[in-house]
Amino acid sequence: MEGEERKKIRLYYTHGKIFVWDHKDVITLRKEHRIVGNLVGSLPRAPRQNIHLGLPLQLAFYEAKLLVDTGVGEIVISKNLEKYVDEKKVQQFKELRQKSYEDQIPLFKDARRKEIQQHKHLIIEGKKTKKRKHEELRQVELQNKSKESNAALQTAENFESQNDLKIDQAIPDKIQTSMKDDDKDTERDSSSLNNEEEDKEEEEEDFDIDQIDIPDIKPEHAIVQLFTESLWNIESTEPYQDWRYPQTDAEGLQYHVFKDLWQQNYFITPGNKFGGDFLVYPGDPALFHSFYIAVCLPHDETLTSLEIVTLGRLGANVRKTVLMCSMSGDKVLYTSLQWTGIT
């Protein structure tokens, strides 16, 4: 593209299939080369549905062959894990994780601060109530003390200390639950935090958020990336020379038909679901209806009229034109079949 030297798109040969793992390549293939393929992996954001799938993109052999022939892509194959996994890579990965974790510590702290800021009024409110209750309690105690005799003093003290405890526990709980309601996901380590806050801000209701010592997040709370594409694709793959396609006459015919249609600027997808070889679209299949069903037939094959009727009926039912494609020398010949509706 525009004279800029381009790396070939890597087509990974895996267990007899061809995959593309780089999302940029997937878009490039579709946008610039009209190669649609088939996404077969689970979508990261919603892995449990079949409507929208994610990487990898599986290519049909004719698509891969076309990309190789036009110089857009190259077939590569991955080595065995044993051959490339070494200490160095393990170390590299560990460092990557560690660095990512360390990067996240201040970010989590900031998020936490923001969260506290957001709920500051609730916390202050809580503190006030707590103080008030303390005050009330103390007054009750004083009254009790004055009323009761010395003999009863012992039991009263017991009672008081129990009550104290209960209230101490009750207040942080209250704050926590209110925070949880507001923002469940970002709520983290709040119990330890609240305790610390209480210790610090015993006397004054207002506090300075920046002064709060927020503990580091634990490693298991850090977000990690689960890699879809291998990190070691340069070292772990080698060009694959042994891929042989087309192997049979039928495959050869299919490939030639595919290539010929592709050269005429069509989008082509597999047509098995419609009973043909290809579906042919004028533009991207996401936005256009296909208008041909291409059926590859060897040039020398004799057809009975029933078979032709079958094909015509097939196209008529889905409002598409059936293309019977065959090779004559190097040229692809198309015969279209349309149901007239006259009985």
Binding site: T14, H15, R30, V40, P219, F288
Partner: protein, 507 residues
């Protein structure tokens, strides 16, 4: 390392906190042709943008939420490192010490952002897992079908071969289930010395042999014997990791209430089966002979060796009476009165065949049948080129007659082993998965009958043979589906079953 797709700390956090789990709607309005309008171009670019954003999203997860496993390339299995999540109820299996996941299960969990699998401490990407986990024994097509069904929410297990008719008839299936359940409750008992075990079992066996002869002595030795029996049983259990559990304290419980008796009884048969091939002397075992005598005196067998609630026949046994009874029950009289018109005398008169072994017997019998055919009154009919379909000898049951008249055999009645093995299709299209509807009560130890079975084929393959599908379907009426995969596109098909009405009841 390729830096391209690695997210920085802040990107990770942003991605994880803002991730939108909704999926863009597919389909919608489509045009028939390009018109070069601004609208079309705009729609196209919007589509590419959303498509790009969707694919560019990386998988992120809180580290603590991930289940971790280790890839074992030799076994082609994934071993758990960190304890399992909810999915353990329907995935994986346990061997002696470790918990394992099948590769397809691990790969699916990786794709579902639930698991991290490492090899030599290096966490694997999904791409590497694709390369590594898929093998000839578990094909990529199978994984894609597995994944497709799992994404739909079905519970999918590898296909368990159905129990054979024989296994069903001896109730082996029940036995396996029970033993699995009991193993959990197993009481650990100190192992006895090896020498002692041999001693015990021999002791016990000697006693078993003498049971029939000395019924008097038995009362005295029974408590002693029960003790040794129990000891040796327990010991065998410990060694073999077998299922029998004796919950009462060792050797002390000699009361024979019915429950206890049941346990010891079943354990004794168990041990006997294990050791009798070596130790049981058949020449010393007496089975009463009823030949050439009118009356027989039977000893009372030991209660220990009888099932509960069975009263053994003992004392005098009237052989003559017994023989008369069995003679009467043969329905020879039936032939004479009712079926005279259809079965001739020469057919019903059963000739005795004297043979020393089965081969001999079969040969002699076929000779007799042949003889009958040749010498039957209707044998004239078989002399020409055109012969009747039925021979008089075929007329035994209605089913047999219908069978002979049916020139095209029903495929579901083909259960001949030889015919199956010659079918090459059987190897390529095997049933891969048992599929269950999502169910919180699902237990993988006792999954029950699956709701569906699935076999996997590529679109260029032959469809599965009717035999494969029918054999499985006919056993327990679980529908077998046929998944066709074409470059990642999945479609399911199934054969519908129905039978035509039958007007003749088969006898």
């Amino acid at each position: 390392m390729e830096e391209g797709n690695i997210l920085s700390g802040s990107e990770l956090l942003k991605q994880h906190s803002t991730v939108d789990h909704s999926v863009p709607v597919k389909g919608g309005h489509k045009d028939f042709d390009k018109d070069g309008s601004w609208m079309q171009t705009k729609r196209l670019s919007v589509f590419y943008d959303t498509h790009n954003d969707l694919l560019a999203e990386e998988r992120t997860e809180k580290y603590g939420n991930l289940v971790r496993g280790k890839w074992n390339p030799q076994l082609k299995l994934v071993e758990f490192e960190k304890e399992m999540g909810k999915f353990w109820s329907n995935m994986g299996f346990v061997d002696k010490h470790r918990k394992w996941l099948y590769p397809e299960e691990a790969l699916f969990l990786m794709e579902a952002n639930l698991m991290e699998v490492s090899f030599n401490e290096l966490p694997l990407s999904i791409q590497e897992a694709y390369n590594e986990f898929i093998s000839d024994s578990f094909k990529l097509e199978e994984y894609q079908i597995y994944c497709h069904l799992r994404r739909h929410g079905y519970l999918v297990r590898r296909h368990e071969p159905l129990p054979t008719d024989y296994e069903l008839s001896i109730k082996l299936t029940d036995h396996v289930k029970k033993s699995k359940r009991k193993r959990k409750k197993k009481v650990k008992e100190p192992k006895l010395e090896n020498g002692q075990t041999d001693d015990c079992s021999q002791n016990k066996l000697r006693k078993t042999e003498t049971v029939q002869n000395n019924s008097n002595n038995l009362e005295n030795s029974s408590s002693d014997m029960e003790q040794t029996l129990e000891e040796s049983c327990l010991n065998v259990d410990n060694c073999d990791n077998s299922e029998i559990v004796q919950t009462s304290s060792l050797g002390q419980n000699v009361k024979s209430d019915s429950k206890d008796c049941d346990v010891s009884n079943c354990s004794s048969t168990n041990t006997l089966q294990k050791s009798r091939t070596k130790n049981w002397n058949f020449s010393e075992l007496n089975f009463p002979s009823i030949a050439n005598c009118d009356q027989l005196v039977l000893d009372k067998p030991n209660d220990k060796f009888l099932p509960p609630n069975v009263t053994p026949q003992c004392g005098h046994f009237d052989v003559k009476n017994y023989l008369n009874q069995t003679k009467k029950s043969t329905p020879s009289s039936l032939f004479d009165t009712n079926l005279e018109f259809s079965q001739h005398e020469w057919l019903k008169s059963k000739t005795e065949i004297h043979a020393s072994n089965w081969k001999d017997f079969k040969q002699k019998q076929s000779e007799i049948v042949k003889n009958l055919q040749e010498h039957s009154p209707a044998s004239e009919l078989w002399k020409g080129e055109v012969t009747p379909v039925l021979r008089p000898t075929d007329v035994t049951t209605t089913a047999n007659i219908l069978n002979k008249l049916q020139i095209i055999k029903l495929i579901n009645e083909v259960d001949d082993e030889s015919e199956n093995s010659s079918d090459e299709n059987l190897n390529t299209t095997k049933i891969s998965f048992d599929v269950y509807l999502p169910n919180a009560q699902f237990k993988k130890s006792d999954p029950g009958r699956p709701n569906h079975r699935v076999c996997v084929t590529r679109s260029c393959d032959e469809p599965p043979s009717l035999i494969t599908i029918n054999q499985c379907y006919l056993k327990d009426k679980v529908p077998v589906h046929w998944a066709v995969i074409d470059n990642g596109d999945v479609a399911f098909y199934s054969f519908q079953h129905f039978s035509l009405p039958i007007d003749i009841s088969k006898g």
